[in-house]
C-alpha cells in the first residue's frame, strides 16, 4: 500500500462543515499528524482475506410490520428549533 499523503486540516474542515480558527487549524495539523503516524502501526497487520467488522454482534434484516404508529407531534418536534415558522424549520436562503 502506498503511503497516503499527509492530512490537510484546512481541506478536511470544509468537508466536515466545521470552521476552525487559524490557531485550531495549526494545532490540529500537528496533533493529528502525530496521531496518524501512531495509527500507521496498523500497516504491520496482515489483513489479507480478512472480512471487515461493522458490528461486533452481527445482526441483519431487522424488520417490523408496516403499521402506522404515533410519533412526535410538530409542536414537540419544533420545540428546540433555533428558528421556526408555520410548523417548519427556518434556515437562511438556500438559493440567492
Amino acid at each position: 500500500m502506498s503511503q497516503p499523503t499527509p492530512i490537510d486540516v484546512n481541506y478536511v474542515s470544509v468537508l466536515a462543515r466545521l470552521n476552525l480558527s487559524s490557531e485550531e487549524t495549526a494545532s490540529f495539523q500537528t496533533q493529528l499528524e502525530k496521531i496518524l503516524s501512531y495509527v500507521e502501526l496498523l500497516e504491520k497487520v496482515n489483513v489479507d482475506g480478512v472480512e471487515p467488522t461493522a458490528h461486533a454482534i452481527p445482526r441483519f434484516n431487522v424488520f417490523r410490520d408496516d403499521i402506522e404508529k404515533p410519533s412526535l407531534n410538530p409542536e414537540v418536534a419544533l420545540q428546540n428549533a433555533p428558528r421556526q415558522a408555520n410548523q417548519l424549520f427556518l434556515v437562511p436562503n438556500v438559493i440567492d
Partner: protein, 480 residues
C-alpha cells in the same frame, strides 16, 4: 454510616420494611449532594423539586428500584429535562422523549436524580472536556475522576447519589469507576437499547450502570436490558435475573490472563494490586490460565479510527437547524453550518470530527477505515479464541490510578492511551466490569477488570461478586 453510601439492595430492604421512606432517602441524598457538590462538581443539573415530587409519588412496591435515587449521564434523554451532553451546542436543549433506559428506570420505580457531568459528547477519559465544569475525583480533589462518565462515577463515589447510568464506547463506564473506587459495568453490545442515548460511535456505544457493589450492578443490568423495537441493534434474548446466581462461587471457574495486558508501563501499585486479586480468586477455587490476545497492541489505533469515523457521521446532525445552538452571524447556509459548529463544539470534539472525516474521505477510506475494520475482526477473533480456554478474562481496568487535572490535556495521544485496557472489549462487543481491588500509597483507588463472554454477564457478575465478598475494597469511602 451515612445512608447515601448504602447500596440499593440494602436501602430497598429499609424502604420495604418501612424503616425508611422514599422522601427521607431523597432528602438525605439531596443533603449530601449539597454538602459536597461545590468541591466535586459531579452534576450539570439537579432539580430538587422534581426529585422530591417523584419521591412523594413513589409506591414502594411498584418495582425493584422503587424510591431509589439514580443519576443519569447528561447524554440520556428524559422527557422535559435538558440533555446537553456537556456541550455548548446543546445548551438549553429539552428532551422531547424518554430514552428506553429512562422508561425502564421509571417503570422500576427509580427516583431520577439529576444529570451527571461528562466529557463533551462522551469524548474523553478525564471529564476535562466538559464545556460546563471540571469534575474532581472524590478521593483526591487535585485529580481527575476519569471519563467520559466522570460525573456519574464521582457522584456515586462521593455518596451524592445511590447509583448512576453511564455510557461506554471505549471504557467510559469502567475507567472512571476504577479511578473513583466504584463498580462500573458495560453490558454486551446489543443487551441494552441505546434509543434516546445521544450517539457517539454507534457500533461501540453501550449504556450501563455505575454502582456501589456488584449486586447493584447485576440488579440494574437486569432492569436496563432487553429487546427494543426502537434500537435495531438490541437483541431478542431472554433477560436473566443477574442477581440469581451471584453466590455460586468460582470453583471450576477458569480465569484467563492475557499476557499482552501485563506489560511495562503499568503503574507498579496497579500491577501489584491486580496480581494480589488473582491470588485471592485462586484461593477461592478459581484456576488461572494464560491466554493470548495477539492483536492487543493495535486496539487503540483501531478504536480511534472507527470511533472518530462514526462520530463524524453522528455529529453531522448538529448543524443549527433542528435543535441546539445556531450562530448569530448573518451568513449563507453553508457558513451557518460551519460557524454554528465552530462556536458550539469544544476542541476535542472538533479534533475527532476532523480525524473521522479524514479517515472516511475519498482516497483514505481503504487505508484507514476499512483496514481498521479488518483489524477489528482479528481483535474479535482473539477474544473468541481466548474464551475457548477460559470463562472470564482478568486485566487491570486502567494502567494508572487517577492522574492530575491538566496533566494530559496538551497531549491527546497520551489521553487516548488511558483506555488501553478497556477499548478492545468494545471492539469485540463483549461485556466487562470494573471492581475496586486496592488503593495506592497515595490513597487512590485501583480497579480490576473482568471481561465476560458475549451475553454471559452472569458468569462475569458471579466472579466479580465472589471476589468482592472476599475483600473490603468496595467498602472504602473517600474522606470529604
Amino acid at each position: 454510616m451515612s445512608l447515601t453510601f448504602e447500596p440499593i439492595h440494602v436501602l430497598r430492604k429499609k424502604l420495604v420494611s418501612g424503616e425508611l421512606s422514599p422522601v427521607d432517602l431523597a432528602q438525605e441524598t439531596l443533603q449530601r449532594f449539597r454538602e459536597v457538590e461545590p468541591r466535586i462538581n459531579s452534576f450539570v443539573e439537579l432539580n430538587e423539586k422534581k426529585v422530591l415530587s417523584q419521591a412523594e409519588a413513589t409506591d414502594i412496591h411498584s418495582g425493584p428500584l422503587a424510591g431509589i435515587p439514580i443519576t443519569l449521564k447528561d447524554n440520556i434523554n428524559v422527557t422535559g429535562e435538558s440533555c446537553g451532553c456537556s456541550s455548548k451546542i446543546l445548551k438549553g436543549y429539552v428532551a422531547p422523549y424518554d430514552a428506553t433506559v429512562t422508561t425502564h428506570l421509571k417503570r422500576a420505580g427509580a427516583v431520577l436524580f439529576g444529570r451527571a457531568n461528562m466529557d463533551e459528547f462522551a469524548m474523553g477519559s478525564s471529564t476535562e472536556n466538559s464545556s460546563v465544569k471540571v469534575t474532581r475525583n472524590p478521593w483526591n480533589l487535585e485529580t481527575i475522576p476519569g471519563g467520559s462518565s466522570g460525573g456519574s462515577a464521582a457522584s456515586v463515589s462521593a455518596g451524592q447519589t445511590i447509583a448512576a447510568l453511564g455510557s461506554d464506547t471505549g471504557g467510559s463506564i469502567r475507567q472512571p469507576a476504577a479511578l473513583c473506587g466504584v463498580v462500573g459495568t458495560k453490558p454486551t453490545y446489543g443487551r441494552v437499547s441505546r434509543y434516546g442515548l445521544v450517539a457517539f460511535a454507534s457500533s461501540l456505544d453501550q449504556i450501563g450502570p455505575i454502582t456501589r457493589d456488584v449486586r447493584d450492578a447485576a440488579l440494574l443490568t437486569s432492569v436496563l436490558s432487553g429487546l427494543d423495537s426502537m434500537d435495531a441493534t438490541s437483541l431478542d434474548l431472554p433477560v436473566p435475573d443477574f442477581m440469581a446466581n451471584l453466590e455460586g462461587g468460582v470453583k471450576e471457574l477458569r480465569i484467563g490472563l492475557p499476557k499482552q495486558y501485563f506489560i511495562k508501563g503499568i503503574h507498579p501499585e496497579v500491577e501489584a494490586a491486580v496480581q494480589k486479586a488473582i491470588k485471592t480468586l485462586e484461593s477461592l477455587g478459581a484456576s488461572v490460565v494464560e491466554v493470548d490476545l495477539p492483536h492487543t497492541e493495535y486496539a487503540v489505533a483501531t478504536y480511534y479510527i472507527i470511533a472518530t469515523a462514526e462520530a463524524s457521521a453522528n455529529l453531522a446532525r448538529f448543524d443549527g437547524v433542528r435543535y441546539g445552538h445556531r450562530t448569530e452571524k448573518d451568513v449563507n447556509i453553508i457558513d451557518m453550518y460551519g460557524e454554528t459548529r465552530e462556536e458550539g463544539f469544544g476542541t476535542e470534539v472538533k479534533r475527532r470530527i476532523i480525524l473521522g472525516t479524514y479517515v472516511l474521505s475519498s482516497g483514505y477510506y481503504d487505508a484507514y477505515y476499512l483496514r481498521a475494520q479488518k483489524v477489528r475482526t482479528l481483535i474479535r477473533q482473539d477474544f473468541t479464541n481466548a474464551f475457548n480456554k477460559c470463562d472470564v478474562i482478568l486485566t487491570p481496568t486502567s494502567p494508572t490510578p487517577a492522574f492530575k487535572i491538566g496533566e494530559r490535556t496538551a497531549d491527546p495521544l497520551a489521553m487516548y492511551l488511558a483506555d488501553i485496557f478497556t477499548i478492545a472489549v468494545n471492539l469485540a462487543g463483549t461485556c466487562g466490569i470494573s471492581i475496586p481491588c486496592g488503593m495506592t500509597s497515595d490513597n487512590l483507588p485501583i480497579g480490576l477488570q473482568l471481561i465476560g463472554k458475549p451475553f454471559d454477564e452472569a458468569t462475569m457478575f458471579r466472579a466479580a461478586y465472589t471476589y468482592e465478598q472476599a475483600t473490603d475494597w468496595h467498602k472504602a469511602r473517600p474522606k470529604l
